[in-house]
């Protein structure tokens, strides 16, 4: 695997990046007014969250999206303001439950897992499907 060095996370500023996540609760990335003045360190919020007010974090459960790199217990970054298209990974509600799957609009609309062990979910008559938002990133911890 080839890795590109994209920058250094400054040590003295580490708490400024990570600590608010754990202590102050998430706020799903409201831009902090101070963040504009910090120059060099890399801000994971900025990288992962484009629209804070519309972004929610959701925990993935199960192996059905392994092929897309979403492992069990991964944290999904879900942006409700992005309109999903064919092949988008989405969080949807079906039968009163949230699921994370790939949205297929053709040939027939369905929610497609990225793991051959799981069957696709077709939307039957009378079943209600609501797309909650588009998954823009998954955070897997090792």
């Amino acid at each position: 695997m080839k890795v590109n060095y994209i920058g250094k996370i400054s040590e003295e500023n580490l708490p400024a990046i990570f600590v608010p996540y754990f202590l102050e609760s998430v706020h799903a990335g409201f831009p902090s007014p101070a963040s504009d003045y910090i120059e060099s360190p890399i801000d994971l919020n900025k990288h992962l969250i484009k629209n804070g007010a519309a972004t929610f974090l959701v925990r993935a459960q199960g192996q059905s999206m392994l092929g897309s790199g979403i492992t069990d217990q991964a944290v999904l970054v879900v942006d409700r303001s992005i309109k999903p298209t064919h092949n988008s990974i989405v969080v949807a509600s079906i039968d009163g439950e949230f699921v994370c799957k790939r949205l297929k609009l053709k040939p027939k609309m369905c929610l497609m897992p990225d793991n051959p062990d799981y069957p696709p979910i077709f939307i039957n008559h009378g079943q209600e499907l609501e797309i909650v938002g588009t998954v823009t990133a998954a955070i897997n911890k090792f």
């Binding site: 609760s25 959701v58 459960q61």
Partner: protein, 420 residues
């Protein structure tokens, strides 16, 4: 000339539904602290006849047997959802006044020439719905008082878009005729009685009285209301919210408290929390009041209410000073032999943290004046550790029963919603 009032529909109940798709069309109620009273109802719950503010025990059996879902209040979660809605509004509208956790006034004057405001309102509504899941209603009108009336019209006319604009003379007239005078913003119950006696029952009748006359007969506040009803703007969008004037921390107890040994640590907890809020507001206070009372619902038991205010010579925001004052206030008002049901602390008479006024005489209880120390305590308490003062109750915040709270979906790593 146009303002708007954005109001989140059944806000707390709507929030509870966002991460619970299984609750679609299910009646939801949210209870006050301690699960005492119903403080929010979904449309379905309103339709079942659950009143606002009714004691939970009165409707519990009926509500649950009909498949309703109940939640203790989860203000951490509602606060975050509210901040998201306000954040979106601030992104699209130049002037936003956050009026409460679920209401905001918008100044639309500068948008009026570029947009059809009704369409703009519909757009904002659908955007907020899609981005956050929160349903809102929007009333658009020339004055703040009229935006409230436009909002009521959404309900009366059952407007499907949930957005209503009143701007022409005719539209305003029509809305005012259909608004009972007690529903006008700022007209309370006593005033309604007065007005009804004078044969003023709807908002149009009130609007048609000469404001000068109102001022002489009643007061300036009602005169302003009348002018606003006539479309003359007296209240503007206030985007710099003035600093708080007082801080209250109080709770009803889950179990009755009868002895000082239990009560004192609880009041100390309130004092610590209130002082944290005070420092957060960057204020100092020079009045500390403590109150205790028995339950008004148990009328066969002896009743007692106690209230005492302690004046501090020098303003302070040091927890140790406030704890001392709270103790001084509590001891004389506590009486043994009563079942206390509620207590609280009120900090008032604020001065800015940085200004200092010296007393002419030496203050016998000179404040600790060690702001660095409190700063450290606050910082530590923001982390996982918790520093307690000796007089506090360390086991729980107060003997509070609240056991139907939903997860902190948006603010805790451990309580995120789950997708399979």
């Amino acid at each position: 000339m146009a303002l708007a009032l954005v109001d989140c529909e059944s806000f707390y109940a709507s929030c509870e539904r966002i991460f619970r798709p299984d609750l679609k069309n299910i009646p939801i109620v949210v209870l006050s602290n301690n699960d005492g009273c119903v403080i929010a109802r979904s449309t379905e719950a309103k339709r079942m006849g659950i009143g606002m503010g009714v004691p939970w025990f009165k409707v519990k059996k009926d509500f649950l047997s009909q498949g309703g879902e109940v939640f203790s209040s989860n203000f951490t979660f509602y606060g975050d959802m509210s901040a998201r809605v306000m954040n979106i509004l601030e992104g699209f509208v130049p002037e936003v006044e956050v009026y409460s956790i679920d209401e905001a006034f918008l100044g639309l004057d500068s948008l009026e020439e570029h947009y059809n405001l009704y369409d703009f309102g519909c757009h904002m509504r659908s955007l907020i719905r899609r981005w956050t899941g929160v349903p809102v209603r929007i009333g658009i009108a020339p004055t703040k008082t009229l935006t409230k009336i436009a909002l009521n019209e959404v309900k009366r006319l059952n407007v499907p878009t949930k957005v209503h604009q009143i701007s022409t003379r005719q539209e305003i007239r029509e809305a005012l005729i259909n608004t009972p005078v007690n529903e006008v913003w700022g007209v309370g119950r006593r005033l309604t009685e007065h007005l009804n006696k004078a044969k003023i029952t709807n908002a149009l009748q009130l609007a048609e009285i000469d404001p000068q006359h109102i001022r002489r007969k009643f007061n300036v506040v009602l005169e302003r209301t009348v002018r606003e009803l006539r479309g003359q703007r007296c209240l503007n969008i206030e985007d710099n919210i003035s600093a708080k004037k007082q801080i209250v921390v109080s709770r009803s107890f889950g179990a009755r408290v009868t002895d000082l040994k239990t009560l004192r640590p609880i009041v100390s907890n309130f004092a610590v929390r209130a002082t944290e809020k005070l420092r957060h507001e960057k204020q100092k206070c020079s009045q500390v009041s403590v109150f205790v009372r028995t339950s008004p619902f148990s009328d066969h038991k002896p009743q007692h209410r106690g209230y005492k205010t302690i004046e501090l010579f020098t303003p302070t925001n040091d927890t140790r000073d406030i704890l001392m004052a709270a103790k001084q206030a509590l001891l004389p008002i506590f009486r043994s032999g009563y079942d206390y049901a509620k207590a609280g602390i009120l900090l008032s008479r604020f001065t800015n943290e940085t200004t200092k006024q010296y007393s002419l005489f030496k203050d016998p209880n000179e404040p600790k004046e060690n702001s660095k120390f409190m700063e450290y305590i606050d910082q530590l308490n923001n982390y996982e550790t918790q520093i307690y003062f000796a007089s506090q109750n360390t086991r729980s915040w107060s003997p509070m029963k609240q056991n139907m709270t939903s997860p902190k979906y948006t603010t805790s790593w451990y309580e995120l919603p789950i997708a399979k």
